[in-house]
Every structure is written in structure tokens, then in C-alpha cells.
């Protein structure tokens, strides 16, 4: 159902969508059945003159089974959903298939920096390519990402990949994805990260092998900036604080004015 809205652009996107569909069918059936019974009882047992309600304690086995059987059914379906959910979870978040390339993602207030391995396929070499807010990928290549944050929590989210992972300062979090569709998709920060939270949209550009190689030829090299510096929070100097607050509000206003 999610694919009605968002392209399935990674190897595991369809599995996440199938899980969503499975849950939707199970809980949808339960939901409709419960609502139907509720409405039916309300209509059927409306007060009528001269008809007294029945005295049912709900403590006898013959009575409780009407509640218990649906209740056991809930448990059975819970187990089914747990199994399906953990299979998908394990595929996306626990398994780590061997990488063909590694990409470093650095989140900060309020921009994304991507360090691509460049033509040699290795990070931290002279041909690394560093971009801001655009992640460049080659289709059908298995990437490991290495996620950093320079300041506060952010969340690396690519809906088309069905992937989301928080970036935590002080940690390098590793995961994987394999893009399967050529195209361009939204990249979001999904964890509130301050005033500019809505102003850090990124894009994922997925190209064929040839087009990706051509892009690498054209891209500027900035290896000296590729290393991650640990977050150094300024300790609340009032002057810098005020200046920063003013400039952020001003840039937010400019952004709005430009539209």
C-alpha cells in the first residue's frame, strides 16, 4: 500500500511494504469485525418499552468464551506478526551483507555532507568526493553507510528506500542499502534538530554505472574535508548565541521569501 505513494527503490523496500500489507490485512479484519459487532449490538439492543435487560455476569465459562476466542485469535495473529516483523527487521538492520562500496554520511545543523569513495571505491583516499545535500549512488550496488552527527540527533531517512536511522553524536552507526531504481528521491532529516529541521531536505541521485562514472569524473575533489571532526559544542557564549539565533531566523526568513 505504501508503494501507491512512494517508489520502491531499494532491495528491501518491497519486503517492508509486504509486511505493512500483511499487518493491514490482519488488523483491518479485526478492526472491521469489532466495529461491526459494536454497531450491531447498539442497534439490536436499543431500549424498548417493557423489555428488561438480561442479567449476565460474564464470569461463567459459557459466557466468557465469546470474549476468549477472539482474544486467543489476537494472540495467534500477534505471533504471526512478530515473526514477519522480525524477519524484515533482521534483513534491514541486523544483517550486513558484504559491501561493494562505503559512503560516509555526516549530519549537522542543518545540512547533510556525503563523502563518496570516488573512482577507487575506497574512503579516506585522495579521490574521495564530498557533496552537500545530494547523495550520489550507483544503481544495484551494495553500499554500507557510516552515519555520523556533528551536533544534535538527526535521522537519515530515505522513504523510497524504506530506510531510517538516527544519527547520534559520538557514534558511527553502520548499515546498508542497495538502490534498485534509477532516479532521484527525497532524503529527509526525520528527527527534530532545531529551528532549521524543516530546512534540511536532501536528494538521493541514483544513476546507471556509466552515468555514475561520468559524474565522478566531473565532481570536484575535496579530500582534506572528508574526515569527521567530533562535535565540539560551544559552551553557551552569549554573544555567539545571540548572533547565531539572529542569523538562523534571518536565513529562515530568506528561504521563505524566495518561494
Amino acid at each position: 500500500m505504501i508503494s501507491w505513494y512512494v517508489t520502491q527503490a531499494s532491495s528491501y523496500a518491497a519486503d517492508v511494504d509486504d509486511l505493512f500489507l500483511l499487518i493491514a490485512l490482519i488488523v483491518g479484519a479485526f478492526f472491521l469485525a469489532a466495529e461491526f459487532v459494536l454497531l450491531w449490538l447498539i442497534v439490536k439492543f436499543r431500549a424498548r418499552p417493557g423489555v428488561k435487560a438480561r442479567y449476565i455476569t460474564g464470569e461463567k465459562t459459557s459466557e466468557t468464551r465469546w470474549v476468549n476466542y477472539p482474544h486467543y485469535l489476537v494472540l495467534v495473529f500477534d505471533i504471526l506478526i512478530v515473526a514477519a516483523a522480525l524477519r524484515v527487521w533482521s534483513e534491514v538492520k541486523i544483517d550486513l551483507p558484504p559491501a561493494e562500496e562505503r559512503v560516509r554520511i555526516i549530519a549537522q545543523q542543518w545540512a547533510w555532507t556525503f563523502v563518496h569513495a570516488g573512482p577507487d571505491g575506497k574512503l579516506d583516499t585522495a579521490d574521495d568526493i564530498r557533496t552537500v545535500n545530494v547523495l550520489n549512488l550507483q544503481v544495484n550496488r551494495l553500499y554500507h553507510y557510516e552515519l555520523h552527527s556533528k551536533d544534535v540527533l538527526h535521522s537519515f531517512s530515505v522513504p523510497a528506500f524504506r530506510l531510517k536511522q538516527d544519527a547520534v553524536p559520538g557514534r558511527a552507526i553502520v548499515g546498508w542499502f542497495r538502490p534498485t531504481v534509477i532516479g532521484e528521491f527525497d532524503l529527509q532529516c526525520a528527527e527534530i534538530c532545531g529551528i532549521g529541521h524543516g530546512l534540511m531536505p536532501g536528494r538521493v541521485r541514483i544513476r546507471s554505472a556509466g552515468a555514475h562514472a561520468a559524474w565522478m569524473e566531473m565532481a570536484p575533489r575535496m579530500p582534506q574535508l572528508a574526515s569527521v571532526t567530533p562535535a565540539m559544542p560551544a559552551t553557551g557564549a552569549p554573544a555567539s548565541f545571540a548572533a547565531r539565533a539572529a542569523s538562523v531566523e534571518a536565513s529562515a526568513e530568506r528561504e521563505r521569501g524566495n518561494r
Binding site: 505493512f20 469489532a34 442479567y55 449476565i56 494472540l75 540527533l153
Partner: protein, 577 residues
């Protein structure tokens, strides 16, 4: 308690301040909590009006507010969440109904610690003032969401609200202290002050629920209070509990927050469930189906709720293997909750149902909460949560739980106990207009938001125009429908306030027991005087003996001895049928 019960009713002449502001009477304190909660709901409602207008019509001036900046948007979102949970749901459901109902339903004259009770409200009022004050401090109110994750919340250089974040932490901590004091009172009173003859399984369900909720709150809030103190030190003293640069860990806060935060969901859910459990038997003239089952499932829910917190953190950077454990516990908690809803539905079977306004609210609680419950399964299932986490799907899910709890539950309780509180009936016609518009508008808000969430709308974004996949006319149309739903919902609330105030002054006189109900509060005069009962009642049976087979009357109050004739219906009934 009985020696305290000799206050002669109505003999006090203490002046306005002593009677209404400095009172130790549980009913006055309950009203103080109720009215403070309603006032805060207006502030929370105004906040959501402003930011939903911004989402529907980005960049345009919002009537009564003006243009919304990104910083203001974050502050409004944060304040809406904080206020609605801590300053509306908690005081109205737990404190107002708890204070009002526990002594009356247990048949005693007041809480066991009346002065602690008064102190609880005074600290709560102070916390509300502190929170509202954060709107006017330099830099504005805190804008890091109601979950206040550090490092954003811990350092003004990141959140850019120099004082707002600190004021927020102080207000929340004060509020917790207030509810700790209240909780001690609720639990002690229920244990010690039951009327003679009332066994634990003769206690009305709503009292059970409020007591269990209070225990949950007291058991879970300690870690968060400690966490709030550390956050305060990080902000003010420059310590580094949550700062990785000095060896701290930002994820620590998330554990402390959600270890409290998930039981907190049940802290407000259980009282609402209890209110519904009181209303459904009265208006279907039926004994509650499986009384003990409800008590056991509530206890089970409470226990399990301590083991589910990390489902808020699946993608937060915790060890991914932990997700297996928390997926299992999260889905397991659906079992007792589903059981409770099934029991409520089963109670209707064979009943004689009258759709009064309180009954409509109670039934709609079940109908709407079902959708909130089943959509939680998507989010508890770790694999699906990868996609849905921090989207509007989550937001729509928890509004389908919290709106039934905090709004529908509160309206159900207020319309049901209004005759007891003020001695007069509310207007049924206005009540039903208010009910139907509110319920329909509510669904128009959140069904579209399930769709935008499934389409990838992430939360707390003040403007989607930077996201080409999200800035589509189709999704914008859904956002506008949601905002229109919200505006209709807010627009109909004056009907309720008008009905409330007019009925208080000019409503039909109710009598002691207008709904022909069984529980003890209906044996006291309406409104009950200081000291509640002219003569403390004794209890002879459970609270839900409706339509028993060998009696002509279809109700059998708890305080009526077995051999005496039933009270004459004409004396008490005011013709709600």
C-alpha cells in the same frame, strides 16, 4: 476516617478564598484541576490551530496570530504536545476525576491526606504558570518537541531558546511532584477508606483504574525526574550527562524518558477506560461483563507497560538486536487491551441501551480507540517501524489513542457526572450536536494524516516545499482537509462551554440519582456538601447489579440493604429516557 465524618454539612462560612482557593475539600480540588485543565486545553488548542494552518497554507498569515516562523512553529508543536499530555490529560483524567470520584465512590468524606491534596494542586498550578511563562521569556518557548531529546534540549547553542528549554524542564519536574503527591493520596484512600462492607471487588472499576494508574505513575516517574535533574544540570551548570564530548550519552535520556513515557500512556488510558466502564452499564442497564477480568487485564497491562519502552527507539541507534525483545512485548500488550475492549462490547449484549450524551461519548471511545489500538501494531512491528517511525502515521496513531482518552473520555466523564457536580442536568440536544460535530471532525483530521504518513510526511516540518516528493498537490489537499477538520472541531467547542455554563445555572434540577445508577456517589445529595454524605453509607453488593432477575427495579444501589424495598423511581428519576 469515621471520626472525621462529623462535619455538619453546610455549616462552614469561610469566605471565597478559604472555600475555593485554599480548600482541602476533595471536590473543590477536583474542580480546580478540571478548570485548570480546561483552560490549558484552550492554550494547547490554539497552538495546534496555528501550526495546522501553517501546514495547510504555508507562509500565509494565520488569522489571530500572523506569519509563523520556523522557530515559532517548533515552539508551538512542542507546547501543544507538552500541554495536552501533562497539563490536560493528566489533571483532568487522573487528578480531577480521581479527586472527585474516589471519596464519593468509596463512601468516605474526603481524601486521607487533605492538606497534601491541596499542596498537590498548588504545585500543579505553579507548574502551569511556569510553563505558560516560557512563552514570554527572551528567546521564546522551548522548541525541541515534547520528548526533549538532548543534545538539542541540553544546550542553548543548539536549541536557540536560551531560557525556554530550562523553564520547560522545571515546569515538567514540578508537575511530576504534584502528581506524586496526588498519587499517594489516591492509593492510600482506596486502601484505607472504603465504606464498611465494601470489599476490593466491590470497588467501582474507575477507582481501580485510577489507583492502578497512580501506582504506574509513581513507579515510572522516578527515573525521569532524575533524568530531568541531569538535563537541568547540563543546561545550567554545564555538566555533560548527555554530551558525548565529555563522556555522556544522549540516548540515556531516551531510555529514562520512555521508561516513564510509555507507562504514562496507560496512566491516562486506564482512568478513561474506567470512566467508560462506569457509563456503559448504566445506559445499557447491564451488569459489567467480567468485572474481575477487567481488573486483571488492567494490572497485566500496567506490568507489561514497563517492558515496552524501547519501541520508541527502534531506529534511535540502540543495538538492533534489542528490537526483537521489544517487538514481542509491544505486541503482547495488545492482548490485555483487546480483552478490555471486547469485554466492553460484550457488556452491550442483551442490554437495554439508551443513547444519552454520556453513552454516546463512551461508545465512541470504544469505536475510535479501536483504530488507535490496531494502528499501534504497525509501529510495534519493528520491520514496519523502520519506515513509519517519525512520520505522520505515528502522529495519527497516537492521536487516535490520546484523543479518545483525553477528549472523549473527559467529555464522557463530565457529561455523566455533571448532575452530581452541579446538581443540574446538561442540555441533551446541545450535547448531541457537540458530540456529533466533534467526532466527525476528529476523523476528518486524522484519517488524512494516516495517508500523508504512509506517503512519507515526516513530523515537525513547518513547510514541505523543500521536498519535491512531498510537495505534491495530492498530499497538500490531504493536509488542508486535516486542517479544515481541526478548525471545525475547534469551532464547535463553544457549544460545549455554553451548555456547561448555562446548565450550571439554569439546567433542570437533577436530584440525587438522575441516571438511576448503583454506585455510592449517587446516594449523596447533588451537589454533595462538604463531608459528602449525611450519614456514611454501608455497602451490600457490587457496583453493577443492574436488571437482576428477581427484582422489579432494574437497578440495585450498593448502599441499599437486601431486605429493604428499592427506592421509588419517581423520587429520583428525572426522565432521561
Amino acid at each position: 476516617m469515621s471520626e472525621l465524618a462529623v462535619h455538619p454539612a453546610g455549616h462552614h462560612d469561610q469566605g471565597f478564598v478559604k472555600t475555593y482557593l485554599w480548600s482541602t475539600d476533595h471536590k473543590v480540588i477536583a474542580m480546580q484541576y478540571l478548570f485548570t485543565g480546561m483552560l490549558m486545553a484552550l492554550i494547547g488548542g490554539f497552538a495546534v490551530y496555528v501550526f495546522r494552518m501553517q501546514l495547510a497554507f504555508p507562509g500565509q498569515s494565520v488569522p489571530l496570530f500572523g506569519r509563523v516562523s520556523a522557530g515559532q512553529y517548533n515552539s508551538l508543536v512542542t507546547m501543544h504536545g507538552t500541554i495536552m499530555i501533562f497539563w490536560v490529560a493528566m489533571p483532568v483524567l487522573l487528578a480531577a476525576f480521581g479527586n472527585y470520584l474516589i471519596p464519593l465512590m468509596l463512601g468516605c468524606d474526603d481524601m486521607v491526606f487533605p492538606k497534601v491534596n491541596r499542596l498537590s494542586y498548588q504545585i500543579f498550578l505553579l507548574s502551569a504558570v511556569v510553563l505558560v511563562a516560557s512563552f514570554v521569556v527572551p528567546g521564546g518557548a522551548f522548541g525541541g518537541a515534547w520528548t526533549a531529546y538532548p543534545p538539542l534540549s541540553a544546550n542553548a547553542v543548539y536549541n536557540l531558546t536560551r531560557y525556554g528549554a530550562t523553564v520547560w524542564v522545571v515546569a515538567v519536574a514540578l508537575e511530576f511532584v504534584a502528581f506524586l503527591l496526588g498519587g499517594i493520596n489516591f492509593v492510600t484512600t482506596a486502601m484505607n477508606s472504603r465504606a464498611p462492607g465494601m470489599r476490593m471487588f466491590d470497588v467501582p472499576i474507575v477507582v481501580w483504574m485510577i489507583v492502578i494508574a497512580s501506582i504506574l505513575f509513581m513507579a515510572s516517574v522516578g527515573p525521569l525526574l532524575a533524568g530531568a535533574a541531569m538535563l537541568f544540570f547540563d543546561q545550567v551548570l554545564g555538566t555533560g550527562f548527555y554530551d558525548p564530548a565529555t563522556g555522556g550519552d544522549p540516548i540515556l535520556w531516551q531510555h529514562l524518558f520512555w521508561f516513564f513515557g510509555h507507562p504514562e500512556v496507560y496512566v491516562v488510558l486506564l482512568p478513561a477506560m474506567g470512566i467508560v466502564a462506569e457509563i456503559i452499564p448504566v445506559f445499557s442497564r447491564k451488569k459489567l461483563f467480567g468485572y474481575r477480568t477487567i481488573v486483571y487485564t488492567a494490572v497485566a497491562t500496567g506490568v507489561i507497560s514497563f517492558f515496552v519502552w524501547a519501541h520508541h527507539q527502534f531506529v534511535a541507534g540502540i543495538d538492533p538486536r534489542m528490537a526483537s525483545l521489544f517487538t514481542i512485548t509491544t505486541l503482547i500488550i495488545s492482548v490485555p487491551i483487546a480483552e478490555m475492549l471486547f469485554v466492553y462490547i460484550a457488556t452491550l449484549y442483551g442490554g437495554s441501551i439508551t443513547l444519552t450524551t454520556p453513552m454516546l461519548w463512551a461508545l465512541s471511545f470504544v469505536a475510535e480507540f479501536l483504530l488507535g489500538g490496531v494502528t499501534g501494531i504497525f509501529l510495534g512491528a519493528a520491520g514496519a517501524d523502520i519506515y513509519l517511525h517519525d512520520t505522520y502515521f505515528v502522529l495519527a496513531h497516537f492521536h487516535y489513542t490520546f484523543f479518545p482518552i483525553a477528549i472523549i473520555g473527559a467529555f464522557a466523564g463530565i457529561t455523566f457526572w455533571f448532575p452530581k457536580m452541579f446538581g443540574r442536568m446538561m442540555d441533551e440536544r446541545l450535547g448531541k450536536i457537540h458530540f456529533w460535530v466533534t467526532i466527525i471532525a476528529f476523523n476528518f483530521i486524522f484519517i488524512p494524516l494516516f495517508m500523508t504518513g504512509a506517503a512519507g510526511d515526516h513530523r515537525r516540518i513547518f513547510d514541505y516545499s523543500g521536498f519535491p516528493d512531498l510537495a505534491t498537490p495530492g498530499l497538500q489537499r490531504l493536509r488542508i482537509i486535516a486542517t479544515m477538520g481541526l478548525v471545525s472541531l475547534l469551532a464547535v467547542q463553544p457549544v460545549f462551554f455554553f451548555n456547561f455554563i448555562r446548565s450550571m445555572v439554569r439546567g433542570r434540577v437533577a436530584g440525587a440519582n438522575p441516571w438511576r445508577a448503583n454506585t455510592l456517589e449517587w446516594s449523596a445529595p447533588s451537589p454533595p456538601p462538604h463531608g459528602n454524605f449525611a450519614e456514611l453509607p454501608e455497602v451490600y453488593r457490587g457496583p453493577y447489579e443492574y436488571s437482576t432477575e428477581d427484582r422489579e427495579e432494574d437497578f440495585w444501589p450498593q448502599h441499599v440493604p437486601d431486605d429493604s424495598p428499592a427506592p421509588a423511581p419517581a423520587a429520583t428519576a428525572v426522565g432521561w429516557r
